[in-house]
């Protein structure tokens, strides 16, 4: 039985997710495949206004965040589907409930690198 059902969430609850290191090689590997812009591939870039150094693709940060959300919360839950789905596209029944989240992602210096609001569908304990 999963640990976390729809009924187990309450407004204001905070979940600390695990953290993950991201290496220069990780950044370049993802960027080569999905986001080959110069500032995601090279240590020194001509776009100095934004720091001029290698930065990770925002989509990689999103993907890594998803992994941490899975490992820290969703894999041991009744999570039934993707975040940010158009809720009216889903069957409106007593088996599912929608939970809204505000996520914050920090680097090792406690600087906030990303924020995201989304909604995730969970199965109801009463329907399991």
């Amino acid at each position: 039985m999963p640990k976390q059902y729809f009924e187990d969430f309450s407004a204001g609850q905070i979940f600390e997710l695990p953290d993950v290191p991201i290496s220069r090689e990780d950044i370049i590997e993802f960027s080569r495949q999905f986001d080959p812009q110069v500032f995601h591939l090279q240590d020194a870039t001509p776009i100095t206004e934004f720091g001029g150094g290698l930065i990770a693709s925002g989509w990689q940060v999103c993907a890594l965040f998803m992994r941490l959300l899975d490992d820290g919360l969703l894999l041991d839950s009744s999570c039934a589907g993707s975040a940010v789905v158009e809720t009216r596209a889903w069957p409106n029944n007593a088996k599912l409930g929608l939970v809204r989240f505000h996520h914050e992602i920090f680097n090792q210096h406690r600087e906030r690198t990303m924020m995201m609001d989304n909604a995730i569908l969970f199965g109801r304990r009463s329907a399991s």
Binding site: Q37, F39, M66, L75, A83
Partner: protein, 160 residues
């Protein structure tokens, strides 16, 4: 007009198509989103999606690859024609990302963007923010992805 000034609200860019294989769906999911409906065909049959489907971040990443390839090609075309070239920088983020329908193995998604906003940046002289809404539609006509992204672009001496 420089490259920034030439951009008009409503301009459409067709990025092209990407076909998602079961293998690629599972490979991406194993690394970034190992929920069972993204990793296990048999188990996924009992999910809300009714079968294996791509992580939404896989769909977003595939879109980004086509976006970059498209604008690289546009840049090469402009250079060859001796026209001004748009220099783009990083993105501060996106809004209103939605995945209205799942992407299944074998689905081919075509991504098309429309320019929805441009403005001179107040905080970064010489740069502006370009906003576009990109939609991914699969071969059945169903919309599987919508997002509005923002990116810094060089404005040169543009004043608006």
């Amino acid at each position: 007009l420089n490259a920034y000034e030439k951009i008009a609200i409503g301009d459409v860019h067709v990025f092209g198509s990407h076909t998602f294989t079961a293998e690629a769906i599972k490979r991406f999911a194993a690394k970034y989103d190992p929920q069972y409906f993204h990793t296990d065909e048999a188990a996924a049959k009992n999910s809300l999606f009714g079968g294996l489907c791509a992580s939404g971040w896989h769909t977003a990443s595939a879109m980004m690859r086509l976006l970059v390839t498209h604008f690289d090609a546009e840049e090469a075309k402009a250079r060859a024609a001796g026209e001004p070239v748009l220099v783009s920088g990083p993105s501060p983020g996106f809004d209103d990302l939605r995945w209205p329908n799942p992407v299944y193995p074998g689905d081919t998604v075509t991504f098309t963007a429309r320019i929805v906003g441009k403005r001179i940046s107040k905080s970064r002289p010489g740069w502006g923010l370009l906003s576009m809404t990109t939609t991914g539609v699969k071969q059945t006509g169903k919309v599987v992805f919508v997002v509005t992204t923002h990116a810094f672009v060089e404005t040169g001496n543009a004043v608006a």
